[in-house]
């Protein structure tokens, strides 16, 4: 031992559902150097949004940037468009968007948590987490009509209303989900082997988080108080009982705990939304042509999502710029790996919940 081994991690790897490529130089399994290649899934969506699709269609295209946070991308785009064109969205539509976006966050967080357990070799916990995640998928399917790509939000409102029958089933399922989420939180917090493995592994300190502009659950796990839901009013989060979850520590363990706690908060918000859902229209027509520029920040499950759009009174926008959370977290991941054990790499990568199809677009 002691000789340098080059370990490629990705682009095809069983621990990764998506292609990112890290090339590690290791000595005794300690990483001394790392290169990262994120471009495997670059498709050119930004270009297509500014040349091929009309501004009313772009919302459905950007949803295909990422299947995990599809609603966030659509929300980012439609919020920017509505603000640009001065459209007043009905309250009921906002609440429905909020409901779907929180359910989406739950499913994405559960996916990330389960996946981290899987790459830590804890297959049973992965299975249990995914089993409870199916509840959310069923709820989303009931609500929007599809499991993954919902296309729920559209410029001016939402595409599908919540009927009383669906609401009844949602409440039943939400109750079951709440129990399970509490149980999961308990496991992720107190399981001995997880704590042994993850506490103090892959630590992002608060200074590091600030310096490297970390976003999302990794930042909040490091103690950095940043959440776009509190910093940007794109949906009425204040009214439905949003709380910011901030922990100290910044290791894989805390990142997962932040997710588990946020899932609980999201469930609470879903209850409040269902209880206080206002009556009214779900959609207003959007007329006219976009002119000028607008940018919004959205809290996607992985962190801050930034949309910049610019139009010049044409059916096709001039520029759509998407800055996704993983894109902002790649630099800190690269810093983090140097000096780490190779055995900890998969769990660290997954604990950032990287979404490469977002990153490369």
């Amino acid at each position: 031992m002691g000789k340098r081994i080059t370990v490629p991690f990705g682009s095809q790897h069983v621990a990764l559902p998506e292609p990112v490529r890290f090339v590690f130089q290791t000595e005794n399994e300690k990483i001394v150097d790392v290169e990262v290649d994120v471009g495997y899934v670059h498709r050119g969506i930004e270009k297509a949004c500014a040349t091929k699709f009309k501004y009313m269609q772009v919302g459905y295209v950007v949803a295909r940037v990422c299947g995990l946070c599809a609603i966030s991308h659509t929300l980012g785009y439609v919020t920017a468009l509505e603000r640009l064109m001065g459209v007043e969205v009905p309250k009921r539509a906002l609440y429905l968007r909020l409901l779907v976006s929180e359910l989406d966050r739950i499913h994405s967080h559960l996916l990330a948590m389960g996946h981290t357990a899987e790459v830590a070799g804890y297959e049973n916990l992965f299975m249990q987490t995914f089993r409870h995640r199916e509840l959310v998928m069923e709820m989303l399917e009931l609500l929007t009509g599809n499991r993954v790509q919902f296309d729920f939000a559209c410029p001016g409102g939402v595409n599908r209303d919540l009927t009383p029958e669906v609401e009844k089933v949602l409440r039943e399922k939400l109750k079951v989900l709440e129990e399970k989420a509490l149980w999961l939180r308990d496991v992720y917090e107190n399981d001995f082997s997880l704590a042994l493995r993850w506490k103090g592994t892959g630590v992002v300190t608060e200074e590091m988080a600030k310096e490297m502009n970390v976003v999302g659950p990794p930042a909040r796990a490091a103690g950095l108080k940043t959440d776009v839901r509190a910093e940007f009013d794109y949906l009425p989060f204040k009214e439905v009982g949003y709380r910011m979850v901030v922990l100290k520590g910044g290791s894989i363990y805390e990142r997962n705990l932040v997710r588990a706690l946020e899932v609980l908060n999201s469930i609470e918000m879903c209850w409040n939304i269902l209880d206080g859902l206002p009556e009214g229209d779900i959609k207003v027509p959007v007329k006219g042509l976009p002119e000028g520029e607008m940018f919004v920040r959205i809290e996607a499950p992985r962190g801050e999502l930034f949309y910049y759009i610019r139009g010049s009174k044409k059916l096709i926008l001039d520029r759509v710029r998407i800055r996704v959370p993983t894109f902002a977290n790649i630099p800190v991941m690269k810093e983090l790996f140097v000096g780490m054990d190779y055995a900890d790499v998969p769990a660290t990568v997954i604990s950032f919940d990287p979404c490469l199809s977002c990153t490369a677009r």
């Binding site: 471009g39 670059h42 930004e46 270009k47 310096e211 490297m212 502009n213 910093e231 910049y308």
Partner: protein, 114 residues
């Protein structure tokens, strides 16, 4: 939404950012380019932790051949946005490597218009 926009010439960009940027308070979002035909409008977006809907935008314009100053001295995580800019607009950004997203056989500088 409060937007605090500062328009500066390209060579002043780094100094302007250095004047106000403090990693403890400011959050760097991204650098964005928009093609205006023949030149590119560049915007550096910042926001403050803990404030609602507050943005600080540093705007500048660059022709296709200008050397864009890098801000990785101030903000180490900015390299990825700058590399993307270099890749997708074909701009000459200080210290940026090509090929973050594009392959040799993809069209070069796809986000330029025309």
């Amino acid at each position: 939404m409060v937007v605090d926009e500062i328009k500066v010439p390209l060579r002043e960009v780094r100094r302007t950012i250095k004047e106000f940027y403090d990693p403890k308070e400011w959050h760097f979002i991204t650098v964005n380019g928009v093609d205006l035909g023949g030149k590119v409008e560049l915007k550096w977006f910042f926001t403050k932790y803990g404030e609602r809907e507050y943005f600080k935008v540093v705007t500048s314009e660059a022709s296709y051949d200008d050397e864009i100053p890098t801000i990785t001295y101030l903000i180490p995580s900015a390299w990825i946005s700058e590399w993307e800019l270099a890749d997708l607009f074909g701009l000459n950004v200080e210290g940026a490597k090509r090929g973050l997203f594009l392959d040799p056989e993809s069209p070069q500088a796809p986000l330029r218009r025309g």
